[in-house]
Symmetry: C2
Subunit: 408 residues, 2 copies
């Protein structure tokens, strides 16, 4: 939690944290400002002191809404830091010591800032850590009550929209060749469905910031294929629907996946789904307080391996089918954050009280035109219990209201 | 244009460009990939050669849609570059020479990448330029036909939505205290209007990625205030409506502003608007091929100064009222890009054929609860003519359909 930050900074011997960039699409800045239309800013958080926000003078009122101490400057903030950082750093009393950099900023600008700082203050040590290991991500890793409330709300929005998509699809007319039809009788495409998802999310104050995955057939067998817009919606094919909206303006995420087959399922797809569901159940029943998250990656990989699938633990090289990813990840202002679950993840990525994580086993066979993944987002409550933040049924075959399978 | 890139690289003595990050919310990467759900990638563009895209194996099919040569790797791309960049750089034959960094990436990751590269290849010079001056922005500065077509389309979407907002507002019932009412008879807020804007944009395949400005009264007098969500919509107050949506998925932007006063205008606000409109007309009539853009910033500042307003050229320090910003900027995959128009901008930011720029003079008086800005986006055509990419009327007072001013 944010209240852990000074202790984390002290342990890391940091004198200050400097966050660069805008407040949107920049979780490190959002964490301090709570969003706002602040496009060009630099935030200094010195150890034991409240944060100070340098902003473009034009954005001073938006910046003030953050409740932080605001220092407006007439020209671009990043521009000033890249050209002559001395006055601002001297004002902050940061001419020696250790300062860690955060935020999203253009690579070119950052190279300039580093060079300018090195020249102005040779005794100032500028530190960077890979995002996943950084102390700010460690603070973000556990959520306070208000953060959980916001993630839970996004979960409600998410499952509401998923339910609307299910209802819409199962109400379609179906052509003889098993293609679903639009209201006007023409074929329904992935693009049509995605348009509705974006609309229904927008109506509820949510954005599918990074692009919903709605992938059918072969695309469902490629975990991060977001789906081919022109693909037609058909019966009897696996559909992987992975939706991870954030609060509009770039706030907290939710992450959720269901796999469907409309009307009927092929026996092969049904078997694939059942395997994933069985492993999902096994994990969800065994999640336990303070266990390293990667223990469950081992459990899942062992189970899938037993059934003859490739896994990241049992198979070398680039995985093209089987279980090809890790079990889950933390969710917050970042769609992927600590704790992580890869088998190579450090042991300190544990299911401690306050973390919010996804559990998302899956199996992928692009060459057989199918894939299956099930994902829910869990909160490890202060009492150590695991709670799904938004419940939704696990039906695989969704019966069509206006279509019945013909007897052969 | 992209076809200028090799010549620009040669002039800058660059052996390669390296673009880091995702394809969304990252214009440098989008410029090469054309978007796609690619969240973790590194693109090498060597001089005289086509670009090569390293991506996460899970995203290989999305990456392949770019048409670029794709190299999938099993773990995170940025993670690999931060820890051991050697194999990838050796594969690209980049162990000496000059490589320029681009893209949006976490500051911590980038510091790690720079340190790792310096250690692995002491003779490799890693270059960064401030975004606005970089050679990639110089390539992006002029648009080809397809880019102009896409920006023009966003302009059509934008003005269509602006027209819908005008129609919606002017159709409202009005309470005795001049507050507009929702359909259910309760007061209409800024938040309600913004919800409709987001929805109408989403329906048209556009996103208000960075947050539409819809600001009334005092907020209209603060150029980058995006508006207070709980503010009520009232007659007779200046409303600054600055809308700058991008193609969904993070493509080309349009940028557009109108200032309205509903029902009637105070004489003071009318005068303010008329001054802005007069200056807007003067600029738009005088825009000319190959003139440095900042010449028009001087023209506008001189005009406003003559009328007694503060301006960035005539006034020292942080500007709090008057004409407080620059005249305009290029628009493309970045909402702000070359050419720029500040009086300190280098002379080579000119209105050359192929650029797309905004023209947006404004006057701001927060202490008088008013502001006014007019903005259109112009294309400098290959024949040297200036063309507004989406026409829209300049009415300031929008008459209300169901309200008439009482005679006093």
């Amino acid at each position: 939690m944010k209240s852990d930050l000074d202790a984390l900074m002290k342990a890391a011997e940091l004198d200050a944290i400097l966050v660069l960039g805008s407040a949107e699409a920049n979780p490190a800045m959002y964490y301090f400002t709570g969003g706002g239309h602040i496009t060009d800013a630099a935030l200094f958080k010195k150890w034991g002191q409240p944060a100070v926000l340098y902003c473009n003078a034009m954005e001073r009122e938006e910046a003030a809404k953050s409740g932080l101490a605001v220092k407006p400057i007439q020209t671009g903030v990043i521009e000033v830091l890249a050209k002559s950082p001395r006055p601002i750093f001297e004002e902050q009393g940061l001419t020696t010591g250790r300062v860690e950099l955060y935020g999203m900023v253009g690579a070119g600008d950052l190279v300039c800032i580093l060079n300018a700082l090195h020249e102005a203050f040779p005794e100032l040590e500028v530190v960077g850590e890979p995002k996943d290991d950084s102390i700010l991500l460690r603070a973000m890793e556990t959520k306070d009550e208000d953060e959980v409330r916001r993630i839970r709300h996004m979960g409600q929005v998410t499952t509401e929209v998923v339910g609307m998509v299910a209802k819409y699809l199962t109400s379609r007319e179906v052509r003889d060749d098993e293609v679903l039809l639009r209201e006007d009788g023409t074929p329904l495409t992935i693009d049509d469905v995605k348009g509705k998802i974006a609309l229904w999310l927008a109506e509820r104050g949510a954005m599918d910031v990074e692009g919903t995955i709605f992938a059918i057939g072969r695309d469902a067998g490629v975990p991060h294929s977001s789906g081919t817009p022109t693909d037609l919606m058909r019966l009897g094919q696996t559909i992987v629907f992975d939706i991870f909206p954030a609060e509009a303006g770039g706030g907290y995420y939710y992450d959720f996946t269901r796999t469907w087959s409309l009307g009927y399922a092929t026996p092969e797809a049904q078997k694939l789904y059942d395997e994933v569901k069985e492993v999902y159940n096994k994990v969800s029943e065994n999640l336990d307080l303070n266990v390293p998250f990667k223990e469950y990656q081992k459990l899942v990989s062992d189970e899938f391996h037993k059934n003859g699938h490739d896994t990241p633990i049992h198979t070398e090289g680039v995985l093209e089918h089987g279980y090809v990813h890790s079990l889950g990840h933390g969710v917050g202002l970042n769609i992927h954050e600590r704790p992580f679950s890869r088998h190579t993840t450090p042991d300190d990525n544990i299911l401690k009280a306050g973390v919010v994580v996804t559990v998302e086993p899956g199996l992928y066979y692009p060459e057989k035109n199918m894939g299956a993944r099930i994902e829910d987002t869990y909160w490890v409550r202060p009492d150590g219990k695991m709670e799904i933040l938004a419940e939704y049924p696990y039906d695989f075959v969704l019966p069509m209201k206006k279509w019945k399978r013909k007897k052969k």
